[in-house]
């Protein structure tokens, strides 16, 4: 929930609970010396849009922050009426948030004098405490999002820097391996092949990192639109068919005849299915089978990728979508892999409001089901 929504609920609840004329939340700025009206209910729009108020000009807020509560029984001849809406005949204010460091005040306004008494401050405190907790959580979330964005940017920049030397090294090694730098002995050739293999693993790691960073940086992503799930899945199957044949794995595809449109980006869907079908082929030994099928299911378009491969150990299942995680049997079965593929898949599926589930028994294959809400154009 957005911060503004949290505060809006707080003031409407307070107004109703106190049968008040209205309520408002005032938030302190970073210096703690000015108050800004952040949400209001039953108060004029102009009251909410006023300039930030120096704390010194609001004796009611000062008293609430200092004493834990402030009560104005009759605004007419009370000097603390400064900062109240003109319509308010009485008011009760308490600090918002934790005792030591309040983030503002919550104030209810009465249409009549003597509408509140200090005994009611306890109830208002409870509301303010809940509001403060929600406020703190929202702030913490915003901080986390900022850290996350910084992390993505760091990965993006550093992968560009990392990729260049890898590319150059790979080109140099290929030039040597193909004999353009002079003849090689068998032992030298063996060494260069090993270097080449290591560079290829490094390259795929860097590419996966870049993919992951790209999927986290919304400003880089293409805008979403209705996309035919059928073509994306068909492309992935087509792309992986040669690899499956090479390995002696049968790759079956059960296409759905009607178009299944989902709200996504084509590139994002391609990444999801190249990853999932690629994994199925990768972790299925020779003579095994991978079956990809597509179908509508209620409000969803479903893609099911079932293989007869090595499966997923029970202890690995909860960690499957974590970055850099690789199941123990995956590491033994296939040395090349970064543990980023499924993290990228999960991120993209979430981005497209889809879901992904996996059912597996170790040694008996795995079945991944991906569902996206079916896109229906508005009539």
């Amino acid at each position: 929930m957005e911060l503004s929504e949290v505060l809006q609920r707080l003031v409407s609840t307070a107004t109703k609970a106190f049968v008040a004329g209205g309520a408002a939340v005032w938030l302190l700025d970073e210096t703690g010396s000015r108050l800004t009206a952040a949400a209001g209910y039953g108060v004029p729009q102009a009251f909410l849009q006023q300039d930030p108020l120096p704390l010194g000009n609001s004796p009611l807020a000062q008293e609430a922050l200092a004493q834990g509560a402030a009560l104005v029984t009759s605004a007419v001849d009370d000097p603390r009426q400064a900062g109240l809406p003109v319509e308010a005949a009485s008011a009760l204010a308490v600090p918002l948030g934790p005792g030591g460091r309040p983030s503002g005040i919550l104030c209810v306004y009465g249409a009549r004098p003597h509408q509140f008494d200090l005994a009611q401050a306890g109830l208002l405190h409870e509301l303010a405490e809940l509001g403060g907790a929600a406020l703190a959580a929202t702030h913490a979330l915003a901080d986390l999002e900022q850290i996350e964005a910084g992390k993505s940017e760091f990965i993006r920049v550093s992968t560009h820097e990392l990729r260049s030397p890898i590319t150059v090294s790979q080109s140099l090694v290929r030039t040597v391996l193909k004999g353009y730098a002079g003849p090689l002995t068998d032992k030298q050739k063996d060494v260069f092949k090993r270097i080449s293999g290591q560079l290829n693993s490094l390259e795929s790691l860097v590419n996966d990192l870049l993919d992951l960073a790209a999927s986290q940086a919304p400003e880089l992503a293409a805008s979403e639109e209705p996309v035919a799930l059928n073509s994306s899945v068909a492309r992935a199957v087509l792309l992986l068919q040669p690899r499956a044949e090479e390995k002696g794995v049968t790759l079956n595809f059960r296409q759905w005849r009607g178009e299944l449109a989902v709200w996504a980006t084509e590139e994002g869907l391609d990444r999801i299915f190249v990853n999932l079908v690629g994994n199925a082929v990768k972790y299925t030994p020779a003579d095994g089978e991978v079956t990809v099928s597509l179908q509508p299911a209620g409000q969803e378009a479903q893609v099911i990728i079932a293989d007869t491969g090595i499966g997923i150990p029970a202890e690995a299942a909860p960690h499957l979508f974590e970055e850099f995680y690789r199941a123990s049997n995956a590491r033994t079965f296939n040395a090349v892999g970064t543990g980023l593929g499924l993290a990228i898949v999960k991120r993209l599926v979430d981005q497209f409001k889809g879901r992904i589930a996996v059912v597996s028994t170790e040694g008996q294959g795995a079945t991944f089901t991906v569902g996206f809400p079916l896109y229906r154009p508005a009539k």
Binding site: R163, L172, T175, K178, A181, E203, N207
Partner: protein, 142 residues
């Protein structure tokens, strides 16, 4: 006489990786490390082919070089060099699923070579671009 190839590449190690297979195949390789150098050397050498990296002093300097060389303006100082085939070095195909190809207006090059470079693929593309036109000339001088 050996055919001249102008290699526009600012990474000295990449130059080594590309120069070896080209020289082993009998081409004479000249190197420009910046877009400016490239435009100067094209006029000086009139090479048979330009092997052009996209990323030079800026991440798209290579595009600028190709746009200048292929400028449709008849009064362009590079008008005499418009016919020289350009082979562009790029990592774009291997790192994204973007498909892009030569485009007369936007990206006037003849073909792409993916980085990391496979020397056999490079030589195949170089031959495909310069041999058909120059074969006749070679026969005439023989």
């Amino acid at each position: 006489m050996a055919q001249k190839i102008l290699l526009v590449e600012d990474n000295p190690d990449m130059v080594v990786a590309l120069r070896m297979p080209l020289e082993a195949s009998g081409y004479q390789v000249f190197v420009a490390a910046s877009g400016q150098d490239a435009l100067r050397l094209v006029q000086e050498l009139d090479p048979a082919l330009i092997l052009l990296d996209v990323m030079l002093e800026t991440s798209t300097a290579g595009f600028q070089v190709s746009l200048q060389l292929r400028s449709p303006d008849p009064k362009s100082q590079y008008a005499a060099y418009r016919h020289i085939p350009i082979l562009m070095l790029t990592a774009i195909h291997t790192t994204t699923s973007l498909r892009f190809g030569p485009d007369e207006a936007y990206l006037p090059v003849d073909d792409f070579v993916d980085k990391p470079v496979d020397p056999d693929v490079l030589l195949e593309k170089v031959r495909a671009l310069i041999e058909p036109a120059d074969l006749e000339a070679d026969h005439l001088t023989e």
